[in-house]
Amino acid sequence: MPEKDDLPSIDEYGERLDKARPGSVAEQLQARAALNQSTALGKGIRIASELLAALLLAGALGYGLDRLIGTLPLFMLIGLFLGFAAGILNVHRAMNETDASLAEGGEEE
């Protein structure tokens, strides 16, 4: 068949196409997103929100418990301390996640 010479089959064409592109468009987008995760403001808000969320939650839970049983500063203070610890844990995890997603989806923990 004369066509065989100048027209590659669709599989060959697919292989050539795969070779030509450095990675699927989706992968490229993902890599770019992971890189850009480090816009300074975004990173700052990320860390602040992780720390703040745990602190606020634990403080509020402690305060609620205090209001219920009338031991006002006690559980709120305990809550704030534990919340701070949980916040640090959150920040630690968040930073690990960013590193892991940069190092191509490594399993964390």
Partner: protein, 269 residues
């Protein structure tokens, strides 16, 4: 009054926080339950309509060799599918519709909020960013959070609670478990604060810089020339905001995937 003075008066009247005001479009509901349709509802509705219109148009005449619209839709599909597969290892692919909807909705809410308002339209129709309100982002985060809890208990039973018990020395265990539980409970809060704070900060900066431009133009002589600096700054910030709109939607969806992973796969410590 010159044209610039008019402009200045108009902007000075609308402070940087004015863009976040909730305005009722038509009231609805009973005395105790307020269900009115506001500008926030309007822009969420617009986001949903735009997303639906795009997906319907893209898949309407699906072809083996995709056209432009279809390529864009397929790219989006692949992007979310890869993200979910990487995070949950195929086990969580059942949640693809949820993650896809979540990403597209947040992205469009963020992005459409960057459109310029048509001058002169009533306040209720000003361009509005629903994701700059913490109650919106918190509601979205709570959906993910409840989904994780329900799926976790459904799939693993009480074994789901094992994720709160890491391998540490026995005397540390009570303390660490409490901290792990607090860390888990704080997830929806940090998720919602992050998205809302990013959108709020971005829109505030844009508005403040725009205010500088108008303020400097209203001044005398040489000060008018300085107005170019905040104007150029605003162009830069605006481009960054487009990136942030995508990025924050990505981060929200990505973290939802990571949290869902805890629910569908047993935790490894």
């Amino acid at each position: 009054m010159s044209a610039v003075d008019h402009l200045f008066a108009a902007t000075a009247f609308a402070g940087p926080m004015e863009q976040f005001e909730i305005v009722s479009i038509f009231p609805f509901g009973t005395e105790n339950i307020n269900l009115e349709f506001t500008n926030a509802s309007l822009w969420m509705l617009i986001s949903v309509l735009v997303a639906s219109a795009f997906m319907f148009a893209a898949t309407n005449k699906a072809q083996l060799v995709p056209g432009r619209m279809q390529s864009a839709a397929e790219m989006l599909y692949q992007f979310i599918a890869n993200m979910l597969r990487d995070a949950t290892g195929g086990e969580g692919m059942k949640f693809f519709p949820y993650i896809f909807t979540l990403f597209v909705f947040i992205f469009l809410c963020n992005l459409l909020g960057l459109l310029p308002t048509i001058p002169g339209v009533p306040h209720a129709l000003h361009v509005f960013t629903p994701t700059s309100h913490i109650i919106v982002t918190f509601a979205l985060a709570m959906v993910t959070f409840l989904l994780v809890i329900i799926t976790g208990f459904y799939k693993q039973g009480f074994g789901f609670l094992k994720m709160f018990v890491p391998t540490v020395p026995l005397w540390l265990l009570p303390l660490i478990t409490v901290i792990e539980v607090l860390s888990f409970l704080s997830r929806p809060i940090s998720l919602s604060i992050r998205l809302f704070a990013n959108m709020l900060a971005g829109h505030l900066i844009l508005k403040l810089f725009a205010g500088f431009v108008v303020g400097l133009l209203a001044a005398d002589g040489l000060f008018k020339a300085i107005a170019i600096i905040p104007l150029l700054g605003n162009v830069g910030v605006f481009m960054l905001e487009i990136l942030v709109a995508f990025l924050q939607a990505y981060v929200f969806a990505m973290l939802s995937c990571i949290y869902l992973n805890d629910a569908v796969n047993e935790a490894h410590h």
